[in-house]
Symmetry: C2
Subunit: 318 residues, 2 copies
């Protein structure tokens, strides 16, 4: 007797499965507090998809023990609402459903959220710390810096998939791993490349214009990553064929990653809301994560608990 062979040897791993362990951890963290933390979400557009997403995140947030308040407002009043929430002690975390104006004004609004309540980890302070591989907010290393929740979700997924090797020292656990990231947005792609390179990977960050290498050097002798642009994009397929991990985040339905260039057994993770991998990626991927939304949501709530912990430590330090 032999069990029937699967069509392909790899596995598809759903975000819900990966998120489950964090949900338990977060529930536990909330239960240990002597109050019920409140997350406020600001919705200043009428996009029905955004409303649906807001309702879904409300449900998840409340199911883990938090209070969730959705505040719908005119986009021109949003800044005032954010500033008020920054000052309201009963509001512990703030998130904004972007796009609002859909232009650079959204970045301005993003930075209006106090870093002490910025559950998405979008404040410039947090990005700067991440790029410079600074992991604490204070010299005493009591308050941990917050990581932007989508890049953090990808890191946690890679830990779950055992791409990170826990036998290697913390901070070097991606030593020797080659990663291709197709997306270099300021929100996800570029910070993710930096995070993974800071953890020891050699990252090829790809956008429509060029390829950049993010690395601490082959021997990780640098304490933070450096970025080097490659000449042109002609070597892309060769880089893909050597990649241990491929991460996509292209926000267009038409874009499809070239499965034929992928090496068998590669780990493939898509963070776009579009399906960037074709169905046949399963013939190649060792582990395939088709979307990451539920892990991102868990990281957002994990960040909220960390902000509360940081606040406590700040107050104790005074």
């Amino acid at each position: 007797m032999s069990t029937p062979k699967p069509v392909y040897p790899g596995k598809t791993i759903l975000a819900s499965k990966i998120a489950a362990q964090y949900s338990d951890e977060i529930k536990q963290g909330v239960a240990e507090l002597d109050f019920k933390p409140t997350l406020v979400g600001f919705l200043a557009n009428d996009d029905p998809a955004a409303v649906m997403y807001a309702n879904w995140s409300a449900k998840t947030t409340e199911s883990l023990g938090f209070t969730y308040k959705l505040i719908q407002c005119d986009k021109n009043d949003l800044e005032m609402h954010i500033l008020k929430a920054n000052e309201t002690p009963s509001v512990h975390g703030i998130m904004v459903y972007f796009p609002v104006f859909g232009d650079l004004q959204d970045l301005y609004l993003q930075q209006c959220v106090s870093p002490h309540k910025d559950v998405e980890g979008l404040n410039h302070l947090y990005y700067r710390n991440m790029y410079h591989n600074i992991r604490f907010l204070d010299e005493q290393q009591q308050q941990k810096s917050i990581l932007p929740c989508t890049p953090l979700a990808v890191v946690k997924i890679m830990e779950y998939l055992q791409v990170y090797n826990p036998l290697i020292d913390y901070g070097n656990r991606l030593y020797g791993k080659k990663v291709v990231i197709v997306n270099r947005s300021e929100i996800v792609g570029r910070p993710l490349a930096a995070l993974l390179a800071n953890d020891g990977a050699t990252v090829y960050s790809v956008d429509i214009n060029n390829i950049q290498e993010f690395t601490r050097g082959n021997d990780l002798s640098l304490s933070r990553h450096q970025v080097k642009p490659l000449e042109g994009t002609s070597q892309l397929n060769e880089l893909i064929s050597e990649a241990d991990v491929i991460i996509t985040g292209v926000p267009t339905a038409a874009y499809k990653f070239p499965t034929e260039a992928v090496k068998n057994g590669a780990v493939c993770i898509n963070f776009s809301s579009e399906k960037n991998f074709r169905e046949d990626i399963k013939t190649k991927a060792g582990l395939y994560v088709p979307n990451i939304g539920k892990v991102t949501q868990a990281m957002l709530l994990r960040n909220l608990l960390r902000l509360i912990e940081n606040k406590k430590r700040r107050e104790n330090a005074v």
Copy 2:
């Protein structure tokens, strides 16, 4: 504040650390039996190193709850002693300290040990099952086949080092991994190449004459590995530079693996009693296991428990 950076990012992992979990498992297994199993070791040479090794294995074996009997005899009486031990119900496992004659007669003696007591897993039956990826002795899949203990030790080490990915189905967990093995002995190198290829790796088996590729195909579509000789050995350094795992077993002190060809972050395992890697391998290796003896010894005793379990299941099946 920052912790001092290590000279190199990889880690050296000692066999004793890896063996510890198996020692606990074995002790537990012995404790669950209603008798104390006996392992007999035959020593038919006067080599003081062999005597020392026999004494060391006696000590380990007894510390885990077994009875160990060392039988020293003339090499010309060894066959008779083995055949007698095969028939003695109070002897549960048999091992022979080779070399005895130091020629092909040793292979003959090896096959004299009953497969039911062959703790080293050297019987032809076990090798054949391993090469054909047959994991059970009976159609009912009740009695597990025994694996030769040195190749098995390397597999268990690779599991410990998380080269095997447990999220992938059992039997495919090395999918996408490239392995170079320098040694193609019948005892270790060739069976190890087959084992790792059967588990999904692409293995390059290197000896002084040539390089052979062991693989179930890039997509693991074959149910057992096939072997393909490569043309010459000129591509060796290129294969090394792409290897995720490098395993050495060259029994000469002069041989040293070319560190300069190794890719940063590679897993390096030496099963030779000589140090096949130079000290500078630590500048390259992600994880480095300098020798494996203690894990091999644990696998031998694990095999003994499995032989006892198989005997019980055989008797119950009658």
